[in-house]
């Protein structure tokens, strides 16, 4: 198991290395930087490109400070810094589908700093109950296809799109199984390992990723104790089962995930973008593939509602309560990136719902420029204690 998992981890932590290797193996083909959260990578894969979700590379923001205000979220400031310091040289073009004003600010910086790099923004309708929404989304998927064809100079055939959909679905299913196993208490990967698996899925060709993942899982089945996460039974049964919620468009710091599990908690489920949210929804493999990709976008917000969308009949709070019940989580930790407005807006609704259900919760505001881990540890330990006391109270 170690070697395939180590490969995925290496890709997650060094996208540049993977991209260089991919370029060497696919001369003349384009690598596209894709900004979160809903860009349909299937279309770009069908165009013969490598669509890479641009990661927060966790480096300090230096020149980017003069391009975006310090009260933009850490991820967008990091993107501006990547552009300003030459780290966007990985990408032949940049594509974006999501209407987040901070993300748009970062994209505007990229476009200004790199005038020779095409930056295409195809805005997907974010008001999900609009009767005209599905048609608009399908039309925008068509515009993405046209733009990709313009970039590559080649048409995207329906069959190529179907193949790309199948490849991504296979990969998503395998990753999703890891999350289901974890929620069912039979998971074998730690939160950091799972995050690396998802991150590498955002970077790699899905066929290559799925193949490596299959090897990883086969090895894990053969030797489950080798690299498992913390057990939740036996002497460690005192660990409190927690659900991680938030971080809608970039990954939380690995060290934070480690501190959570080192503080007496065990992560059993999440709705993180670098977690279950990313793999929540498959694209239908029947019918018109472009319309299927459009429906995928709509369905994602039903399967795990996102506060960046407005949908009156899809509630993140209700979904969270259901997820907690399904996984048996005893507490929720909200990971709120500083300055993330949709999360700040929705958070009171989450808090209210969990309070009413008697589920202990803790909000942790994360920052790009370092996180006070020891302070977080104290607060997480307090949450763990609170959850323990809840156990002692008969239902």
């Amino acid at each position: 198991m170690a070697i395939p998992l180590e490969t995925l981890t290496a890709v997650a932590r060094d996208p540049r290395g993977y991209i260089a290797d991919w370029r060497a193996r696919h001369p003349g083909r384009l690598v596209l930087g894709v900004l979160p959260m809903n860009f349909p990578r299937e279309l770009a894969l069908a165009a013969g490109t490598l669509p890479v979700v641009v990661q927060d590379d966790q480096k300090p923001v230096t020149e980017g400070r003069s391009l975006l205000a310090e009260f933009y979220c850490g991820y967008t400031r990091n993107l501006a810094d990547q552009a300003a310091t030459g780290r966007f040289d990985l990408y032949d073009a940049v594509l974006m589908a999501d209407h987040c004003i901070q993300l748009i600010g970062a994209a505007d910086v990229i476009r200004a700093i790199l005038p020779d790099t095409p930056v295409f923004f195809g805005m997907l309708n974010s008001s999900m109950n609009d009767s005209w929404g599905p048609a608009r989304v399908t039309a925008m998927m068509g515009e993405f296809r046209t733009e990709l064809e313009r970039l590559t100079g080649e048409p995207i055939t329906s069959q190529a799109l179907r193949d790309a959909i199948a490849a991504h679905n296979r990969d998503r299913r395998m990753v999703r199984q890891l999350f289901d196993d974890r929620a069912a208490r039979s998971g074998v990967l730690s939160p950091v390992q799972l995050q690396d698996v998802v991150t590498s899925a955002m970077i790699m060709d899905p066929v290559e990723h799925a193949d490596l993942l299959a090897e990883t899982l086969a090895a894990a089945t053969a030797a489950p104790a080798a690299t498992t996460g913390p057990p939740t039974t036996g002497p460690s049964g005192r660990r409190v089962r927690v659900h991680l919620s938030g971080h809608l468009c970039h990954a939380p710091r690995r060290e934070l995930l480690e501190v959570i599990e080192a503080s007496g908690a065990v992560v059993v489920d999440d709705d993180l973008y670098h977690g279950r949210r990313h793999v929540s929804t498959d694209v239908e493999e029947d019918g018109d593939p472009l319309e299927a990709v459009a429906r995928w976008y709509q369905q994602r917000n039903v399967n795990i509602p996102c506060p960046t969308r407005v949908q009156q009949d899809a509630d993140w709070d209700s979904w969270l309560l259901g997820a907690v019940r399904r996984s048996g989580a005893e507490a929720v930790i909200h990971l709120l990136p500083k300055f993330c407005e949709p999360h700040m807006l929705y958070y009171p609704e989450l808090r209210k719902a969990l309070d009413e259900a008697g589920i202990p919760q803790l909000q942790i505001e994360t920052e790009h420029e370092g996180i006070p881990l020891e302070s977080f540890r104290t607060r997480i330990e307090a949450l763990v204690e609170r959850a323990h006391r809840s156990r002692a109270v008969p239902a």
Binding site: H99, R111, F120, S127, W132, R136, V310, Q312, P342, M344
Partner: protein, 460 residues
């Protein structure tokens, strides 16, 4: 006992337009009418974003613009109880202070209603008196309409208002494509994207009107809409005429006078009173020009202001800039917002022109278009520098500012400064930063003049 030297307040060198007091009265009357709307048996709509009020007016509704109410509270220093209520409910202080204040009003409105029915409970931070005062002043909505372009938070804000009110009230959302400029022909008021977006929003306005007919139970009065828009178009033309007059040296009126005119053009009913008001503004400016009366005493510098308004500090900032001889003349929030292109309005068929103005929200452009608009206005008003209000909780307005500052320096050779403040939260305002940076920029302009250099954006 420690004694401190008493700082003498500098002389007020502003010369604000007197006519804006009449505008203030019109606005006060509007709010008084809104506060009484429930008693008058009117349905009340809460909305955000672009100025939908002509449609509500024609539909016979009373309307409350959320940002405007938050701005009014801030301008009157009454925002505290609403913001405390929002904080108590769970809203983070870094959240858009318009939305935080307005959502706090929602919380207070609901708490006030439950207190009146005897079911409420005191929540600690916000006193019952505050709850009663504000709740009684802002009538609760019958439904919501969101018309937010540019800022993604705007759409989410009303989505949350809907939830705060228990998901019981109808909501209608108008989606606006961001004018990013993908296509080669994309530009200000031109190109395939502009035309397509205009048609899309126009179609949604037609849907909205049908939705309002259902809500109100009355057929929509299209003639009333045309009539209202004819007044608004004329008022907008007069406003533009007045703005153009301010290109004169010295300027007869300033950005701060135009800030005082935002509320009338943004949400007052389209009627003769609105036209009369803006005719009065234009006429007073013309009279000043004829008589050689400046907008500030001793104009030495001409500045552009980029940023949404710091409503807590309107009077203070106007005096501060005047104190330094700096006439602030133009700004994105004034020149590129609020029915700023009246020629687009066809009063016989007004929906497309209205849709286009909603799309022309100054936060709904990519930085390329904003660059064009900013440089154009800097040249036309021959400004010596730009002041950027780095608006702490408004990421939409602040986003492109660094790029605009670079472009102004490179293209026009004019300097700029940034200061931090906020739309409705005074705690973010940093007085010393503005003072020191403003003085430094003005000294830089002086040095260039001493060298015999031209400092204005308009090339000689």
């Amino acid at each position: 006992m420690t004694q401190t030297a008493e700082r003498t307040a500098p002389a007020d060198r502003t010369n604000r337009l007197t006519v804006t007091r009449a505008g203030g009265q019109l606005v006060a009357d509007y709010w008084d009418n809104l506060f009484a709307a429930r008693d008058q048996g009117k349905q009340i709509v809460w909305y955000n974003g672009g100025a939908l009020n002509p449609i509500f007016q024609a539909a016979g509704l009373a309307w409350c613009h959320g940002e405007a109410f938050a701005a009014r509270l801030a301008a009157q220093r009454l925002e505290g109880p609403a913001q405390l209520a929002g904080a108590e409910y769970g809203y983070n202080a870094e959240l858009c202070s318009y939305s935080r204040t307005h959502l706090g009003c929602s919380v207070l409105t609901l708490q006030g209603a439950s207190l009146q029915s005897g079911e409420g409970e005191h929540t600690g931070v916000v006193g019952a008196q505050d709850q009663r005062d504000l709740a009684s002043r802002l009538p609760s909505p019958d439904f919501f309409v969101n018309n937010y372009a540019g800022c993604s938070t705007g759409q989410q804000w009303d989505g949350i208002s809907y939830r705060v009110f228990g998901k019981q009230l109808p909501i209608f959302n108008i989606s606006h494509p961001f004018l990013w400029g993908n296509k080669p022909d994309a530009g200000y008021l031109t190109g395939e994207e502009w035309e397509e977006a205009s048609g899309f929003v126009e179609g949604q306005l037609r849907e909205l009107i049908g939705w309002l007919e259902t809500r109100s139970g009355r057929p929509f009065d299209w003639d009333a809409l045309s009539e209202s828009m004819s007044y608004i178009k004329r008022a907008a033309e007069l406003r533009r005429e007045g703005l153009d007059l301010c290109k004169a040296k010295p300027a007869p009126a300033t950005f701060w006078d135009w800030i005082a005119c935002v509320a009338p053009i943004n949400f007052l009913p389209g009627d003769q009173a609105l036209v009369d008001y803006f005719a009065g503004v234009r006429d007073e400016i013309q009279q000043r020009l004829d008589a050689g009366v400046p907008g500030i005493e001793g104009e030495r510098y001409r500045l552009y202001f980029d940023g949404i308004m710091n409503w807590n500090k309107l009077g203070f900032l106007s005096r501060k800039f005047a104190e330094h001889g700096a006439a602030v003349l133009a700004g994105r929030y004034i020149h590129n917002a609020f029915w700023q292109e009246p020629h687009l309005i066809d009063v016989e068929n007004p929906l497309r022109g209205m849709a286009q103005h909603y799309l022309l929200c100054p936060t709904n452009h990519g930085s390329r278009t904003l660059d064009y608009l900013t440089l154009r206005d800097c040249r036309e008003y021959d400004v010596d520098g730009i002041v950027f209000h780095s608006t702490r909780t408004c990421r939409a307005f602040t986003g492109p500012q660094r790029l605009l500052a670079r472009s102004a320096q490179r293209t026009l050779g004019i300097p700029s400064v940034f200061f931090e403040g906020d739309v409705a939260d005074a705690s973010f305002y940093k007085e010393e930063i503005l003072e020191s940076r403003l003085v430094a920029m003005l000294e830089q302009i002086d040095v260039r003049r001493q060298r015999g250099e031209h400092t204005g954006a308009a090339r000689p």
